[in-house]
C-alpha cells in the first residue's frame, strides 16, 4: 500500500494546490456576495496584506457561493515584489502598480455597501518565525476576558533567530527534568496515600507538583471542600491512576468516545432554577482551565446539539497540545468529582 498511499497523497496535494476559479461576477480584488448579489471589496474585508511581498489571492479566497476555498493572501509571483502592502504585487524595482480593475468580468455588477478599511495587522512573519495567532494588537472589542488567549509568542518575538533553537532545546530539557521529578514524586505520593490524607498532592508538599499541574491554590485550606467520603475515594485514584495518565495527552479523550460520553453525562448537566448549587460541572472545569465565563455561557447555549465538555476539550487541545490527562484529572479531583475520576481511570 506504500506506493499507492504516496500516489494518493500527491494527488490530494495537487488538488489542494489547484488554482482557484475566478469569480463570474466580480473583479480580482472583490468577492461575490450571493445573498445581497453585489461585489464586496477584499480590502474592506481583510485590510491590506499584513506582510511585505504578499498580495491578495484571486477574489481573496472566496468562491461565488461565499465559501472560503483558499487563503486570502499569497506570496508574490517570482520576479514581483510588494514592499508597500499594496493590494497587488508589481515587478521588483518598478514601483507600485495600478490595482486591477474592480469591474466585473461579465457586465457591471453593483458594489456592496462601502465599509471602512480595517487597519493593517502586524505581520506574523516579522521575526522570521510563524506564529499561531496573527495579531499582537489589543482587542478592539469590549471583551477583555477573551484576551486570555496566551500571548506566548510575545517573548519569542523579540528573540533573534539564532537564539530560537537554544530556547527550544532548553524548553525540552526543562520538560524532561520536570517529567522525571513528577514521576518520582508521584511514586512517593502513592506510598504516602495509604495514610488517607485528603489532599495527597499537597501532602507531598512539593512545589513541582503545584507548578506542573497548575494548582490554583497553594494551601490545603483553600481547596474546595468535599465530604469525607469523596476525599477517601479520591485518594486511591489520584495515587494510583494519575501517574499512568499524567503523561498521556488530553486529546486521547476525544478518541475514547465511550469514556467521553460518560464524562459528558456526568459533567455537562446543570441543575435548573429550583436546584441547588451545581458541584463541579463543565462550567467549573472550564474556569479551572482559565476559560472566561462568557465562553462557557455560549458553549452551554449550544446544547444539546453540541456538548460543552467536548467543545472545552477540543479548545484546550487546540490551544495547548501538551495538555495532559493528568492535569484534567487533577482538576476533577479539585472539583470533588470522584465519579468522573472513576470514569477517567478506565483509560489507565
Amino acid at each position: 500500500m506504500g506506493p499507492l498511499r504516496r500516489l494518493l497523497t500527491a494527488a490530494l496535494l495537487l488538488a489542494q494546490a489547484a488554482p482557484q476559479e475566478a469569480s463570474q461576477h466580480c473583479g480580482r480584488l472583490e468577492y461575490w456576495n450571493p445573498d445581497n448579489r453585489c461585489c464586496s471589496s477584499c480590502l474592506q474585508r481583510f485590510g491590506p496584506p499584513p506582510c511585505p511581498d504578499y498580495e491578495f489571492s484571486e477574489n481573496c479566497g472566496f468562491n461565488d457561493f461565499a465559501d472560503h476555498v483558499t487563503y486570502p493572501f499569497k506570496e508574490c509571483p517570482f520576479g514581483q515584489c510588494n514592499p508597500d502592502n499594496a493590494e497587488l504585487c508589481s515587478p521588483c524595482g518598478a514601483g507600485a502598480t495600478a490595482p486591477a480593475p474592480a469591474g466585473s468580468r461579465s457586465g457591471t455588477q453593483r458594489r456592496c455597501r462601502e465599509k471602512p478599511v480595517p487597519p493593517k495587522e502586524p505581520c506574523p512573519l516579522k521575526s522570521g518565525k510563524p506564529r499561531v495567532y496573527s495579531s499582537q494588537e489589543p482587542s478592539p472589542s469590549a471583551i477583555s476576558s477573551v484576551s486570555w488567549t496566551p500571548e506566548r509568542n510575545v517573548t519569542q518575538q523579540a528573540l533573534p533567530n539564532f537564539a530560537l533553537p537554544v530556547v527550544l532545546v532548553l524548553m525540552v530539557l526543562v520538560l524532561l527534568v520536570t517529567s522525571a521529578v513528577i514521576l518520582l514524586l508521584a511514586q512517593r505520593c502513592h506510598r504516602r496515600a495509604k495514610v488517607l490524607h485528603p489532599y495527597p498532592g499537597l501532602v507531598c508538599g512539593d512545589t513541582n507538583i503545584h507548578t506542573v499541574f497548575s494548582l490554583p491554590s497553594s494551601s490545603p485550606g483553600s481547596l474546595e471542600a468535599s465530604d469525607a467520603g469523596d476525599k477517601v475515594s479520591l485518594v486511591p485514584l489520584l495515587g494510583r491512576e494519575l501517574p499512568s495518565l499524567a503523561s498521556q495527552p488530553l486529546s486521547r479523550l476525544l478518541d475514547e468516545l465511550e469514556v467521553l460520553e460518560e464524562l459528558i453525562v456526568l459533567l455537562d448537566p446543570e441543575p435548573g432554577p429550583g436546584g441547588g448549587m451545581a458541584r463541579g460541572t463543565t462550567r467549573h472545569l472550564a474556569a479551572r482551565y482559565g476559560v472566561p465565563a462568557a465562553w462557557s455561557t455560549f458553549a452551554y447555549s449550544l446544547r444539546p446539539s453540541r456538548s460543552p465538555l467536548r467543545a472545552l476539550i477540543e479548545m484546550v487541545v487546540a490551544r495547548e497540545p501538551s495538555a495532559s490527562l493528568g492535569q484534567f484529572g487533577t482538576h476533577l479531583a479539585q472539583l470533588g468529582r470522584a465519579d468522573a475520576l472513576q470514569v477517567l481511570s478506565k483509560l489507565g
Partner: protein, 121 residues
C-alpha cells in the same frame, strides 16, 4: 448591537408545546446594513442577513455556521483554517476570538461522519 429603526416588531414566547398568552415584548428591530431582520430566525454577518442554520465552507475540508462562528484563514506560517467562536453582543474579530476548532488538513469529513463519530445521530 445594530441600531434599531422606528419599526416595532412584536416578539412573543411559546413555552414548549403549550400556546401561552404570556409575555409580549415590543422592541426595535435590529438592522443589517440597510435592512431589518428577525433575530430569532436570522443573523447579520458581513452586512448580509443569513438564516441561523446557514453553513459555509471554511477551507476545503470543513464547514462552519457563519451566524455563530468565524472562519479565520491563516495565510502565514502554518497555513490552516481556524474556526473561532463569535461572542454574542460584540463585533467579533479573528485575532481576539476564542478558538472553536482547527479544520483538518486531511481528506474532507462530512458532517454526517462527524455526527456519527460523536454518536449524535
Amino acid at each position: 448591537f445594530p441600531v434599531g429603526v422606528p419599526v416595532c416588531i412584536t416578539i412573543f414566547f411559546l413555552q414548549g408545546s403549550k400556546a401561552v398568552a404570556g409575555l409580549w415584548l415590543c422592541q426595535p428591530a435590529p438592522r443589517c446594513g440597510d435592512q431589518v431582520y428577525d433575530p430569532l430566525q436570522h443573523c447579520c454577518s458581513d452586512d448580509t442577513i443569513l438564516p441561523l442554520n446557514r453553513t459555509r465552507q471554511c477551507g476545503p475540508n470543513c464547514t462552519f455556521w457563519p451566524c455563530l462562528e468565524l472562519c479565520c484563514p491563516e495565510s502565514f506560517g502554518p497555513k490552516r483554517f481556524v474556526v473561532k467562536l463569535k461572542v454574542l453582543g460584540t463585533q467579533s474579530q479573528c485575532p481576539s476570538s476564542p478558538i472553536s476548532r482547527i479544520c483538518p488538513s486531511m481528506l474532507p469529513i462530512s458532517l454526517t461522519d462527524v455526527l456519527r463519530k460523536t454518536r449524535r445521530i
